[in-house]
């Protein structure tokens, strides 16, 4: 049996039919074609599938698609506006804060959520917050620096 869901994704209203077992990440990727949200573990450990639901950071492999009915979802595709990169995205590009790019959408969403809550985090706070996500390539140094730069730019 399928359930109808109506939700807002990246500012646009959309509808879908999902099985009760369909995970949000699979709904986003397979039904809406939003493939920027990645699947690295599907058990909530790696954070590559991080999105915002009603502004809160969520691992979309740990939420069912039906739970997003009448809610507001933001994915990595929703951050850049009119072709201009979001300050967090720009900081990641300028700071070489990624290598293979597979974890990147999740880290960008996590960093964005952090700065929305705490516009001026210390390095310790950044490291504590981003421990929700795993990166196998970078050793995190350039990611943490990029978040600091994004915070600076956001405050200006």
């Amino acid at each position: 049996m399928k359930h109808a869901v109506t939700l807002t994704v990246n500012g646009e209203s959309c509808e879908g039919e999902v099985e009760p077992r369909t995970l949000l990440v699979h709904f986003l990727r397979e039904q809406l074609g939003l493939t920027g949200t990645h699947v690295g573990c599907v058990v909530g450990e790696c954070g590559a599938c991080s999105v915002l639901v009603d502004g809160a950071l969520v691992k979309s492999c740990l939420m069912l698609a039906v739970q997003t009915h009448e809610r507001d979802v933001t994915t990595i595709e929703g951050l850049a506006k009119d072709g201009a990169l979001h300050p967090v995205q720009e900081a990641f590009v300028n700071g070489f804060a990624l290598q293979c790019g597979f974890c990147t959408p999740g880290f960008v969403m996590a960093a964005h959520a952090l700065l929305a809550r705490n516009p001026d985090p210390t390095e310790e706070e950044i490291r504590h917050d981003l421990s929700s996500n795993l990166c196998m390539c970078t050793g995190y140094v350039q990611i943490v620096e990029a978040v600091k730069h994004a915070a600076e730019r956001r405050r200006q």
Partner: protein
């Protein structure tokens, strides 16, 4: 490099904008019309005989379109050729894409199902009936090597699947002249680099060809596997963006490529298979558990005369990577030291664990661990300073280019300075003062200083040389291509011969092309990712072996300069000037000193002529402005092929680095905190410093995480207990220190731009650095660190063991 070149600058990343906007293109993002989804049935047993596999019930499930059983695999495919990773295999043992009559590790593929949705394919797996006869599992090298152990391969007659050795110099003589013999037993555990994107394949069989999109690091392995296994030689391998490789995606992935391709052939529909995390943890390949019995012959002043090592490798349940962890030790066999006498004896033992695969450094972290641990032990036994013992044995700055006793040629380096700078940067004397002060309050602070080389650029003949009886010549030296093209609008497009797994190849290649052609990097773009039908590829076209810096950089540089020459030929004709009087700036060719007529011509104008206007071309000029260049290392000799003493170049460049770690150990919990981690690194000419930084940070973080506890744990029954990243213990931002880097580049005299490798680098010495620092911290308790990982549990046991003595 001067400031007017793009090489040497951290120019803006070409790859990052698509990844930060979620527009990377990974295999799982691809969809083909009528595509099916495949899932793999895996063995729940570590060791069992397969009596029967019955797929009829599963095939009845709605949406199921195909099932492949071991019988199908045996009937429809051929076994893989052993290949160079199995060098030394003494009996021919066929290995297929799936298990056939026996399973030898938990997770070994047994059958594959394709259905119209992934969920239905997963449902169907549960309906496949397999009748197993469970056999006793062999889960340690000790158990495997015992005479009464169950045989994992009956054909071999023993679980010790290979034994052999290399020896250089007069080892016995060195031991006779020694003042002292220092002995130690060392162990490194099983781990992986756990790329965040697991294996992924999408295969499509059309009347013209078999096309496979696969996140392989070494597309030649996939290309050969499909040709060998399926007998199809019209193969096209496409590698889109790859979510991390580190060696994991070189070898075992071929099994899944073949199974997915077979399913595409069988069903006549495109088939996608995406591995899940637990599948990758249990069957995607592990690094090798290695044990070393080491003996060092030393003089009382700390000079090391020679080394004897017995290396026992637990290679898991496959013979297809029998000796890779042994042969890779030839790449850094003497590390940074001028020692002349060494014997390395190897034993590869099969067990009922996941097969071993290449992994960031493969074997080289083990070799460096041997050297750096024994240096510390020598210092302790002789009551000398550990840094001074290293200094006494380093290859001198005046000895380069230096040939090691096994034939590697270190082109350049300055190992003494690396150590000196590391001591300054970590504030060594101050750390020692703080350590002494802290000890009075029971604080366990420690510092470890180590040094290592990072070999780069593979010689394909290496393993052949060690096993001259091998019938399959894997090649020699290296070959890799690149294409550079000036488009008719004046922009520049290039094609590399190899895939990238996140090492910024597009950014780096654009810098080299920009300098060679005289354009801005913004005008240069990569045509696409690897495509075997379009990419100029050879034996070195692999995202492994630290190949890019040597082979791809050489190929891109060669192709760009060849194109520049053609651009100048055409421009000289149009401008009526001598080629030698031309200069190019920002995509415009200027003829200096030409007084009459046109003094310059733009790339766009040249493009219009080259592709459309034969009337403006010089007679005999070939239309188009494109150049392809295949690069082989011009200094591959001497010792590209082995000599009669078994000396051969394993790799061609040698980066080096000193690492200094400061740690604090919690006496109550055994937890190790890394307070500082300092690296002084010589990677030769830095093409893009931020890219090199990223490679160093990432590889160091991996080695540190390995030392601190990430790794695989098996039960005695051969069941893997670490199936998720959390159980496995991968370090996050909290455990990973803020790594500090100083570059001290000494250009390589033999490479295109003086560059050396940077990819595996810091993963090689970092486990040894952490071990050294932890041992130093625990020295008041008399603890010796011999085995990795230094998980809180292990460290706590070491502390308890010392206190109970």
């Amino acid at each position: 490099m001067t400031l007017d070149t793009y090489v040497g600058r951290s120019t803006r990343s070409k790859e990052a904008p698509r990844h930060v906007t979620g527009r990377g293109h990974f295999v799982d993002d691809l969809v083909r019309p009528r595509m099916l989804h495949a899932c793999i049935l895996r063995s729940p047993y570590a060791h069992a005989r397969i009596l029967s596999v019955q797929g009829d019930t599963a095939a009845q499930l709605p949406g199921v379109k195909g099932i492949v059983t071991p019988a199908d695999v045996q009937r429809l495919t051929r076994s893989f050729k052993p290949g160079r990773y199995a060098a030394g295999l003494r009996v021919s043992i066929p290995e297929y894409a799936s298990a056939i009559d026996k399973v030898r590790y938990v997770g070994e593929p047994v059958a594959i199902v394709a259905a119209d949705t992934r969920a239905r394919a997963e449902d169907a797996l549960e309906l496949i009936e397999v009748d197993y006869e469970a056999l006793p599992a062999v889960a340690s090298t000790e158990a495997a090597a015992s005479a009464s152990a169950p045989l994992i391969y009956e054909e071999l007659g023993s679980n010790v699947a290979w034994q052999g050795h290399v020896a250089y110099g007069d080892v016995d003589g060195a031991f006779r002249s020694a003042d002292r013999i220092v002995r130690e037993n060392l162990k490194i555990h099983r781990y992986s680099s756990t790329p965040l994107e697991p294996f992924a394949c999408l295969a499509e069989h059309t009347p013209e060809r078999l096309t496979i999109w696969c996140n392989s690091q070494s597309p030649d392995v996939i290309y050969d596997a499909i040709t060998e296994a399926l007998g199809i030689d019209t193969v096209r391998v496409i590698v889109p963006d790859v979510g991390g490789g580190f060696g994991q995606k070189i070898h075992l992935i071929r099994k899944y490529a073949v199974l997915t391709a077979l399913m595409a052939v069988k069903t006549g529909r495109p088939v996608k298979w995406i591995e899940d995390r637990s599948e990758h943890m249990m069957a995607g390949g592990h690094s090798c558990e290695q044990e070393f019995d080491v003996e060092a012959a030393v003089k009382s002043d700390g000079e090391v005369l020679g080394l004897r090592i017995l290396d026992t490798d637990d290679v898991g349940g496959s013979i297809s990577t029998l000796t890779i962890h042994f042969t890779n030790k030839l790449n850094n066999l003497f590390n940074t030291y001028k020692v002349q006498h060494l014997r390395l004896e190897g034993r590869s033992v099969v067990s009922n664990k996941c097969p071993v695969v290449p992994n960031r450094g493969i074997g080289k972290p083990g070799m460096c661990f041997v050297w750096e641990r024994i240096m510390d032990r020598i210092a302790q036994e002789l009551a000398l300073d550990p840094v001074e013992v290293r200094r006494r044995n380093l290859i001198g700055v005046d000895q380069f280019p230096y040939t090691t006793p096994n034939g590697n040629i270190h082109g350049s380096g300055d190992y003494q300075t690396l150590l000196s700078k590391a001591l300054i940067n970590v504030d060594y004397d101050e750390v020692r003062r703080r350590q002494a002060a802290g000890r009075k309050n029971g604080k366990l602070l420690g510092v470890g200083v180590v040094i290592g080389v990072e070999p780069g650029g593979r010689n394909a003949a290496r393993d052949m040389a060690i096993f001259p009886e091998s019938k399959q010549m894997p090649g020699a030296g290296g070959v890799e291509g690149a294409k550079v093209k000036l488009e008719k609008n004046g922009s520049v497009v290039f094609t590399l011969g190899s895939p990238s797994c996140g090492q910024s190849h597009e950014t780096v290649a654009s810098q080299i092309i920009a300098d060679a052609l005289g354009v801005r990097p913004e005008r240069v773009a990569m045509s696409g990712t690897f495509d075997s039908a379009l990419s100029p590829w050879g034996v070195s076209s692999s995202n492994s072996g630290n190949n890019f810096h040597l082979y791809d950089v050489g190929a891109v540089h060669g192709a760009a300069n060849r194109l520049r020459d053609r651009i100048c030929t055409l421009a000289a004709y149009i401008l009526g000037a001598e080629k030698s009087a031309l200069r190019i700036e920002d995509g415009v060719v200027y003829a200096d000193g030409v007084s009459a007529g046109k003094a310059s011509v733009t790339f766009a104008e040249l493009g219009k002529v080259a592709y459309a206007n034969q009337a403006q071309m010089p007679v005999g000029f070939e239309g188009g402005l494109e150049a392809t260049y295949y690069h082989s290392h011009p200094h591959a000799d001497p010792l590209m092929l082995p000599d009669m003493h078994g000396r051969v170049r394993a790799q061609y460049t040698f980066s080096s680095a000193a690492h200094a770690a400061v740690v604090e150990v919690d006496r109550e919990t055994g937890r190790v905190r890394v307070l500082r981690y300092v690296i002084v690194s010589d990677n030769g000419t830095l093409i893009n410093p931020s890219v090199v930084d990223g490679q160093i940070y990432g590889s160091a973080a991996h080695g540190i995480s390995v030392a601190l506890g990430e790794g695989f744990v098996y039960g005695e029954d051969g069941q893997l207990l670490t199936l998720t990243l959390l159980d496995y213990g991968k370090s996050t931002t909290l455990e990973t220190p803020r790594i500090e880097i100083e570059h001290y580049p000494v250009p390589d005299p033999f490479t295109t731009l003086g560059q050396k490798a940077a990819g595996e680098g810091a993963a090689i010495p970092s486990p040894a650095a952490i071990a050294s620092a932890v041992e130093d911290a625990l020295s008041p308790l008399g603890v010796k660190v011999r085995h990795l990982p230094l998980s809180p549990e292990r460290v706590w046991q070491l502390i308890r063991g010392a206190q109970s003595v």
